[in-house]
C-alpha cells in the first residue's frame, strides 16, 4: 500500500525494453534520479548497441573506502557482456559506469536469466549502499566468534573491546549521515537527520514512537529503534562535531544476530535500512496529506452548517421597504 520499492522502476522499465529479444536499437539519453542525491544516466554515446549506464552517488568517496567496487564487481561480473568502468571515464560527473554490450548479450541471451538481470540492474543504488553494511556485518561475525559472551553482562551493555570498535560513517546527504557500528552481539545503525520543517519534526516524534510501541505489541522480531531528539547517542559521540545542534534527530536501529544470520536476512536488512530515511519522509508527508484532507472536510462541514443559518428571502420581502443600518429608508428600483 504505502511501501517504497528498493528497485528503481524507471531503470527497470528501460532495461526491460532494452533487454527484450526483439529490441530494435535506438539512441538513448535519459536522466533518472533516485533518493539521496543519486542520479543515473542511460545513454548510447558510441553506438546504439552499447549502453552506458552510469550512476552518481553523493557519498561515493565514503563508499569507495568501504569497498563498493569489490561489491559491484562481485554482483555484476558474472554477466560476460557487462563491463564495469570504475571511474566512469566516459561520463564526466558520474561515479561508476556499467557498459552493457547488446551484441554480446544477444549471443548468450538463452543462458541469461533476464528478469534477474533487470532486477539486479535496477537495484544498483542499493548494491552500492550495501558495501559499508556488509563490511560491518563481516566485522560483527569476526567479533562474535572471538569474543566470549560474558555471563555477567545481563543487560547487554557494551563491553570494553567492542566500544572501541571503529564506526563506519556515511555522509549520504548534505548534513545527514549514517553511522554503522559493529560489535560482537549486534550491529548498530544510527541515522542523523535534519528536518527542514518544524511540523515535520513533530510528526517524526509521533511516528517514531509508533515504532517502539509496535515492537512491544506484536512485532517482536523487528530491530529495536531508539530515537533521540537532541542528544547524540554514546556510540558516535566522538564523531559528531556539532553536538549542540538542536535540529538534528538521531535514530538508532539495533540489528540483532537474527537479522544477520543468513545471506538473505542480511540483504533484507540492508534493503530496508538504507531506504529508511526516504520511507520515513514519505510517511510523514502522507500523514500531512491525510490531515489536510480531514481539514478540508471539516471546513466543508462548517461551511454547510453556516449556510443553513442563511434565511430564505422570498420575493415579497425583496420588494418590501428596506432600511439601511443608520435607519434611512430607500426604495428599490426594479
Amino acid at each position: 500500500m504505502l511501501q517504497l520499492e528498493p528497485q528503481n522502476p524507471l531503470i527497470k522499465e528501460s532495461f526491460t525494453t532494452v533487454l527484450d529479444k526483439e529490441y530494435a536499437p535506438i539512441s538513448l539519453d535519459r536522466i533518472i534520479t533516485d533518493f539521496d542525491f543519486t542520479s543515473y544516466k542511460i545513454s548510447t554515446p558510441t553506438s546504439k548497441t552499447t549502453i552506458l549506464f552510469s550512476i552518481s552517488i553523493k557519498c561515493w568517496k565514503d563508499l569507495l573506502n568501504y569497498g563498493v567496487l569489490e561489491l559491484v564487481h562481485s554482483r555484476y561480473s558474472q554477466y560476460p557482456f557487462i563491463t564495469i568502468d570504475d571511474r566512469a571515464t566516459q561520463d564526466p560527473g558520474y561515479d561508476l559506469s556499467l557498459i552493457v554490450d547488446l551484441q554480446a548479450y544477444h549471443q548468450v541471451i538463452d543462458s541469461v536469466n533476464v528478469d534477474e538481470l533487470i532486477e539486479e540492474l535496477s537495484l544498483l543504488k542499493r548494491n552500492c549502499f550495501a558495501a559499508p553494511f556488509l563490511q560491518a556485518f563481516n566485522r560483527y561475525q569476526d567479533l562474535s566468534q572471538n569474543v566470549k559472551i560474558d555471563p555477567n553482562n545481563l543487560y547487554g551493555e557494551d563491553s570494553q573491546i567492542s566500544s572501541n570498535e571503529q564506526v563506519l560513517k556515511l555522509d549520504y546527504r548534505d548534513a545527514e549521515s549514517i553511522y554503522i557500528k559493529p560489535s560482537h552481539d549486534r550491529v548498530t545503525v544510527i541515522f542523523s537527520t535534519i528536518f527542514s520543517d518544524e511540523i515535520d519534526k513533530v510528526f517524526s516524534k509521533v511516528f517514531l514512537q509508533e515504532f517502539s510501541d509496535a515492537r512491544k505489541r506484536s512485532i517482536q522480531k523487528a530491530p529495536q529503534v531508539i530515537n533521540s531528539h537532541n542528544e547524540v547517542p554514546l556510540e558516535i559521540k566522538h564523531l559528531v562535531h556539532d553536538p549542540d545542534n538542536k535540529d538534528k534527530v538521531y535514530i538508532t536501529f539495533v540489528l540483532f544476530p537474527r537479522h544477520l544470520n543468513t545471506e538473505e536476512h542480511k540483504w533484507n536488512s540492508i534493503t530496508h535500512i538504507q531506504l529508511f530515511r526516504s520511507y520515513f519522509h514519505y510517511h510523514i508527508k502522507i500523514v500531512k496529506c491525510y490531515l489536510h484532507q480531514r481539514m478540508r472536510f471539516r471546513v466543508n462541514t462548517f461551511t454547510k452548517i453556516l449556510n443553513r443559518a442563511r434565511r430564505d428571502v422570498d420575493e415579497e420581502e425583496m420588494r418590501a421597504e428596506r432600511k439601511t443600518a443608520s435607519g434611512r429608508r430607500f426604495e428599490q428600483r426594479v
Binding site: 517504497l4 522502476p9 536522466i31 534520479t33 527542514s196 520543517d197 508527508k285 478540508r296 472536510f297
Partner: protein
Amino acid sequence: MASAQTPAVIMDNGTGLTKLGFAGNDSPSWVFPMAIATSVASSGNKPAAPTKPSFRASTTASSTSSISGGNLSTGINKRDMADLDFFIGDEALEAAKGPSYSLSYPIRHGQIENWDQMERFWETSIFKYLKCEPEDHYFLLTEPPLNPPENRENTAEIMFESFNCAGLYIAVQAVLALAASWTSSKVTDRSLTGTVIDSGDGVTHVIPVAEGYVIGSAIKNVPLAGRDITSFIQTMLRERGEKDTSLRTAEKIKQQFCYVCPDIVKEFNKFDSHPDMFAKYMVETVSQRKIEVDVGYERFLAPEIFFNPEIASSDFLTPLPTIVDQCIQASPIDVRKNLYKNIVLSGGSTMFKDFGRRLQRDLKGLVNERVHSSERRSGTKSSGVQVQVISHKRQKNAVWFGGSLLAQTGEFRGYCHTKRDYEEYGPNIVRSFSLFNAV
C-alpha cells in the same frame, strides 16, 4: 537543500493523462492516466453521514467544543486508515476492475477539482514513481489557460506545506508548447508570441499568446478532439460490418493509418484507382487468434473532421482554420501578424501527417481573401500577411517537453519561488511568476 546537480521535476497533469519526468530528458519518464482509485468504503460515506447529528447536538448543547469532539470520533471510525488505501495511474485502472475500489479523475476540463485526491496523486507520483525526495528538487507544474489564481494558491500550499519542495514554478501550458516549438528548424527568433493549437483527447483549444502572456479573451474552444476521431472511425468500422470494432482497434487505426489529405474528392478517386491505398490492420485477440480489419476511407476522413466538422457532428460546424482565424482576429491588432506567423501545434491529435500543411493552406486562403478585399476597397497595396504553421517532432508531449527545455536552463531556479519565499509572503506569491526570457 537542493544541490546543483538534482534535475528539476516536470509534472504536466492533464485531464486524461499525466506526464512526469526530469528536466533535461527529451521525453517524459512516465505517462499514465490521471486516475486515482480509492477504497470504496472510505469515499462513499464521507460527505453524507456525520454532519447532521452534530448540527442538532450543537443546537441543544450550544457549545462548539462538543460538536467538534463528537464529529471527530465518528469521522475517525468511519474513515479509519482506508484513506491511505489507493492506487494511481495504470494501477488504478487495474484496481478499479475489482469491486472494492472506485475510480475517479481529480482533474476536470484541465482544472483540479478534487484537491484531496490530487494531493495523494502527487504524493505517490513523486515518491513511488519518480523516486525523488521533494525537498531536494525544484518543481515545474503546468496549468491550463484561465486557471483561477486560487487554484494556483492551493497548489502552492500543497507543494510547499505538504511536500516542502525546494522551489516551484507554475507555467501555462500554451506557453510551454510555444517553447517546445523552438526545436523546429523553421523557428528562428525564439519568441514567446504565437498561436497554440492544443488538441488532446477531450477538447481542442486555440490559444493566442503574446510575449508569454495568454490573451484570455480570445481563446477559442473546439469540441472536437482525439476521442471524437476515434469514435468516428469506430462508427465507420461498424457500418461496414468489420469483425472487430472495439474502441482499442479504432484507436490503433487512428494512430497508425490516418493522415490529412489536401482534397477529399481527389483522395476518394485515388483510393478507387489504387486499391493498395486500402490497408489492413491485424488485431490480436486474447485467444491468440488474429482478426483482419480492413482500413478504408477512414484513413483520411477521420482527421478531416477538423476541417469539415459536418461529417461527424451536427451541432458544431465551424472548421478549425476558421476558428484559428477568428481567434487571431479577436486579439489585439499589433500582435496579429506575429500570431499568424507562428502557429504551433501541440497534443496527440495534431500528430496526423500533413495536418500542419493543410491548416496552413486553408488559413492562408482565408487570410489572403481578406487582404485582397481590403486592398480592393482601399486601393492601396498591402505588404501581405505571412501564415506559418509549425509542426515539430515533439508535438505529442509538447507541453512537457517545453517544460523540460526551460527547466534545464541555468536561470530556471531564479524564476522559481522557493520555500523560504513562501514562508515569508504566503501563498499569494504564486499569483505571479516572472516570465522566461527568450534565450
